[in-house]
């Protein structure tokens, strides 16, 4: 890619011989927001530290604007990193924290003051420059850390679990604010998170990592609609995954015959049935099931169905149509909501 700002080629990091980052290839284009998604221990934080220059690569290379960064120390890379727990400097006030990077880069004093004021307004903390960092709430600290990372105008901004420690409602509000802000500033962003909701809401492109390797990369919609394998499907929260064998437009599964979309790969595979594709019909039709549990989810009811000799099935039902606990019902499958996964 010609216009790629950040490029990783074959990037590998080993801790005690165990690869934490395993031959990773990744490009981030100018102005793009990329979110790396993965469970803890999948190597996503190491990825950021390698790009920042805090973690040397064992092999492979990192380039910024097409220039190899191997011999460039962290403080000359011109990237910003917002740490998971913010790491604000305790002995400086809010303004001192935000101005730190500009001081290091020798911005003129007047510009520093202007930019501190401007950034604090941008992150919603106008006039907070003289406050001590110890007096800030978690959300405020997060905003100060963001302002501090943005202040020296890094060519690439990296966020490590940016909203990890905040409570849910604040997180949902901030993720929208962040996306808006980055869009307005045209910032190139590489973020990592273990929260799929956060990743989907923030990113232009999602990269799912597993054991130091990239499992899948695509737009949030692509990843959501067509997870490539069982790991990605389960990580996204889908539990209706079974081993199956596809023949023509039908898959043979422990749940019986399940229709698959046209043009699906043939032969043995893992099969995902989204809860929306599990249709409840009258007892006696389709697959015989009993309702083992039901959970109210606000917009719908998640129903756990047990059936003999096969894993449980999860179905999503409209509030009015949801069966009661213990009801005997039948189940049919909707091919549009079935995905054949690679093994």
């Amino acid at each position: 890619m010609a216009d790629s700002l950040l490029g990783l080629r074959d990037a590998t990091v080993r801790f005690d011989g165990r690869p934490v980052l395993d031959a990773v290839d990744l490009d981030v284009a100018e102005g793009e927001i990329v979110c790396v998604l993965g469970p803890s221990g999948s190597g996503k934080s190491t990825l950021l530290r390698a790009v920042a220059g805090l973690q040397p690569l064992d092999s492979g290379r990192v380039s910024l604007d097409g220039r190899d960064q191997e011999r460039v120390p962290a403080h000359r890379r011109g990237v910003g990193l917002m740490f998971q727990d913010h790491q604000l400097f305790p002995q400086r006030d809010v303004g001192g924290n935000v101005a730190f990077g500009m001081r290091m880069h020798g911005f003129p004093r007047a510009e520093q003051d202007d930019r501190v004021r401007e950034l604090l307004e941008l992150v919603g903390l106008p006039g907070a420059a003289r406050r001590g960092v110890a007096s800030l709430s978690g959300g405020e600290q997060q905003r100060v850390a963001l302002a501090r990372a943005l202040a020296p105008r890094p060519r690439l901004l990296m966020l490590d679990e940016p909203l990890g420690q905040l409570d849910r409602s604040l997180r949902e509000r901030l993720v929208v604010e962040l996306r808006e802000l980055f869009g307005r500033l045209g910032t190139t962003v590489l973020a990592v998170t273990h929260d799929q909701g956060e990743a989907f809401a923030l990113a232009d492109r999602v990269v799912v990592m597993r054991d130091g390797r990239i499992a899948q990369s695509g737009t949030p919609l692509e990843v959501w609609q067509r997870p490539v394998d069982e790991f990605v499907a389960r990580f996204l929260g889908f539990d209706n995954v079974v081993a199956a064998t596809v023949t023509g437009q039908v898959a043979d599964t422990p749940w019986g015959k399940v229709p698959v979309p046209e043009g699906s790969a043939q032969g043995p595979c893992a099969l995902l049935v989204r809860p929306a594709g599990v249709r409840i019909v009258a007892a006696g039709e389709g697959l015989r099931c009993a309702v083992a549990a039901r959970t109210f989810r606000g917009t719908h009811v998640a129903v756990q169905l047990s059936t003999e000799g096969a894993p449980r099935l999860e179905a999503a039902c409209a509030l009015r149509e949801a069966p009661g606990l213990g009801d005997e019902i039948g189940v049919v499958f909707d091919a549009a909501e079935v995905v054949v996964l690679g093994r």
Binding site: A52, G53, L54, P73, A74, H75, R76, R77, G78, V79, G80, L81, F83, D85, Q87, F89, P90, Q91, D93, F100, G101, M104, H105, G132, A134, R148, A149, P152
Partner: protein, 545 residues
């Protein structure tokens, strides 16, 4: 890391090795039998026995007197508590020579008690024991009281809600939590009194000699270097054992304790019993700590028109080649040089030890650094005397010899003060600064330095106070024409006559004032600032010595 290792190899390991060689190697062959011969000597056995039992008695007496004090400091809030805390801490940084002189002024010939009731204790063991309590009161109050004030009183309340009586709750809940701290404090007191030199030298009669005093006597009076070397080895082994046990108790100390902010646990005394306890502790402090120092000052003024102080400026006393007052300048110069050396060496060592990837070898060095603290100043001085006297390291005639010895004693204080603070600096804070464009040097200046500056100053202050009062090593190696304050005091005391006695009192008072000023500066630094908050811990921790 390299510099501290070289420093310790040259100025600690090398002298100690020289002592071993001097004691056990005769004409090129090793004679381990000598150890047995020396130990079989009845005089030596008497010294050993006295060293152990006076240390045990001092420790027991100190605990007895200081534990109520620890309780009062931990649990009661009262007016003047800060001042009292400072007063109690004064002896901790006071030179042993000053304490010795002060007790001499109180209990000795022509002392206060002698004048009032004709009671003299200066040739009895009581003078030694009381002076030891004077010194170590602060060790117990700071170590035990510090932990006690952080124990959550609600734990005891929980036990009482479960049916325990007030005493049972204390015995089952608080005592077990305190026990390791008490043990650690007791071990430290034992160590200090076991290696006591200045106090015993000044207050002890002819019949009383600790190992330390005996080593000095064998070296400088009898010139039996071989016996001195064997005694040094015995002391070395004993101190090593005590330090090992101490390291064990410290490690066990704060495990799994619920600690709370000390300021929330103290309250005003209630009821006659608690007020009586407070009064008793105040009286003890007044009698044991304030009175001797006050008498010292009073005796130093016991000549018309500051006569003793004036006499200090004349050089016709004949004891020294120079006027005694010049010892003040010498002491300050030596102490400054020693402080610089100790801070550089100790700071480098602490920085190396604080690194997270520090290996086992480096951590072993940590324990090694503590050795000079316990291995007794006399050993260090004696070692310098016999090890650094030939090329390429012939420092006998160099002024640097004294600061080097004093720095060796000061380094453990610096390391102990700096290490916890350096360890507390989060690596990721440094990384955050690096990513924002700070070069490694600027990271140190912008992140590390502001966080450790206070600890650095405190460490320097401690090293300065320790160097200023250092006696055991300095007395070996200070040149006759350049005595330090403690050495000059000891020499004056060794001479007959009221004038010499009075001058000793006056010099001691000067030394006390200098040390007290250093301490007051430290206490001011200790109060954490509003933004930093990292400065509170170090001095409290130094109480763990």
């Amino acid at each position: 890391m390299v510099l501290p290792v070289v420093f310790f190899a040259l100025f600690f390991a090398h002298p100690v090795a020289a002592i071993v060689a001097r004691g056990l190697n005769v004409d090129g062959s090793w004679r381990f039998g000598r150890i047995g011969e020396v130990l079989a000597d009845s005089g030596v056995r008497h010294v050993l026995w006295f060293t152990v039992w006076q240390a045990l008695a001092s420790t027991a007496l100190t605990l007895l007197v200081a534990l109520p004090g620890a309780y009062v400091f931990a649990r009661f809030a009262f007016r003047g508590k800060q001042v009292l805390r400072a007063v109690v801490t004064v002896p901790f940084v006071l030179p042993t020579v000053v304490a010795g002189t002060a007790f001499l002024a109180l209990l000795g010939r022509g002392g206060l008690l002698d004048e009032l009731w004709g009671v003299r204790l200066d040739t009895t063991v009581w003078a030694i024991l009381l002076a030891h309590v004077f010194f170590n009161y602060a060790v117990v109050v700071r170590t035990v009281g510090g932990l006690w004030s952080q124990l959550d009183p609600r734990q005891e309340e929980a036990a009482r809600m479960l049916g325990a009586s007030r005493f049972a709750a204390w015995r089952k809940v608080t005592l077990p939590a305190l026990a390791p701290a008490v043990a650690a404090a007791a071990l430290m007191v034992f160590l200090f009194t076991f290696t006591s030199f200045g106090v015993v030298q000044i207050l002890g009669g002819p019949g009383f000699a600790t190992l330390e005093v005996e080593i000095y006597r064998q070296t400088s009076e009898i010139f039996d270097l071989a016996t001195a070397a064997v005694l040094t080895l015995v002391q070395f082994a004993a101190v090593g054992a005590i330090l090992a046990v101490h390291a064990g108790t410290v490690r066990r100390r704060e495990t799994a304790l619920r600690l709370v902010d000390a300021s929330t646990t103290a309250r005003r005394p209630r009821g006659a019993g608690q007020w009586a306890l407070l009064a008793g502790v105040l009286a003890t402090v007044a009698l044991l700590i304030v009175l001797p120092l006050a008498v010292l000052v009073e005796r130093s003024l016991d000549a018309p028109g500051f006569g003793y102080y004036k006499a200090l400026t004349s050089d016709d006393g004949g004891i020294f080649l120079v006027a005694p007052i010049e010892a003040v300048g010498n002491s300050l110069r030596y102490a400054l040089a020693a402080t610089v050396i100790a801070v550089v060496i100790g700071g480098l060592a602490a920085a190396a030890l604080a690194r997270r990837d520090a290996g086992r070898l480096v951590r072993g060095f940590d324990a090694l650094l503590m050795l000079p603290l316990g291995v007794s100043a006399v050993t260090v001085g004696f070692g310098f005397l016999i090890a650094l006297d030939e090329p390429p390291l012939d420092l006998r005639n160099s002024w640097i010899l004294v600061p080097l010895a004093q720095a060796l004693v000061g380094v453990p204080f610096v390391v102990r003060t700096m290490l916890p603070v350096l360890r507390a600096v989060d690596t990721r804070l440094r990384e955050a600064a690096a990513v924002l464009g700070a070069s490694p040097w600027r990271v140190w200046r912008e992140v590390d330095l502001p966080l450790v500056r206070r600890a650095l100053l405190i460490a320097a202050g401690f090293a300065f106070a320790v160097s200023l009062g250092e006696f055991g090593a300095t007395v070996f190696i200070a040149r006759p024409d350049n005595p330090t304050l403690p050495v000059a005091v000891a020499r004056l005391l060794g001479r007959p006559g009221d004038l010499n006695y009075g001058q000793a009192m006056a010099l001691s008072t000067i030394l006390m004032v200098v040390c007290a000023v250093a301490l007051l500066v430290l206490e001011r630094l200790r109060v954490p600032s509003r933004t930093g908050g990292t400065g509170g811990a170090p001095l409290d921790r130094s109480g763990e010595f």
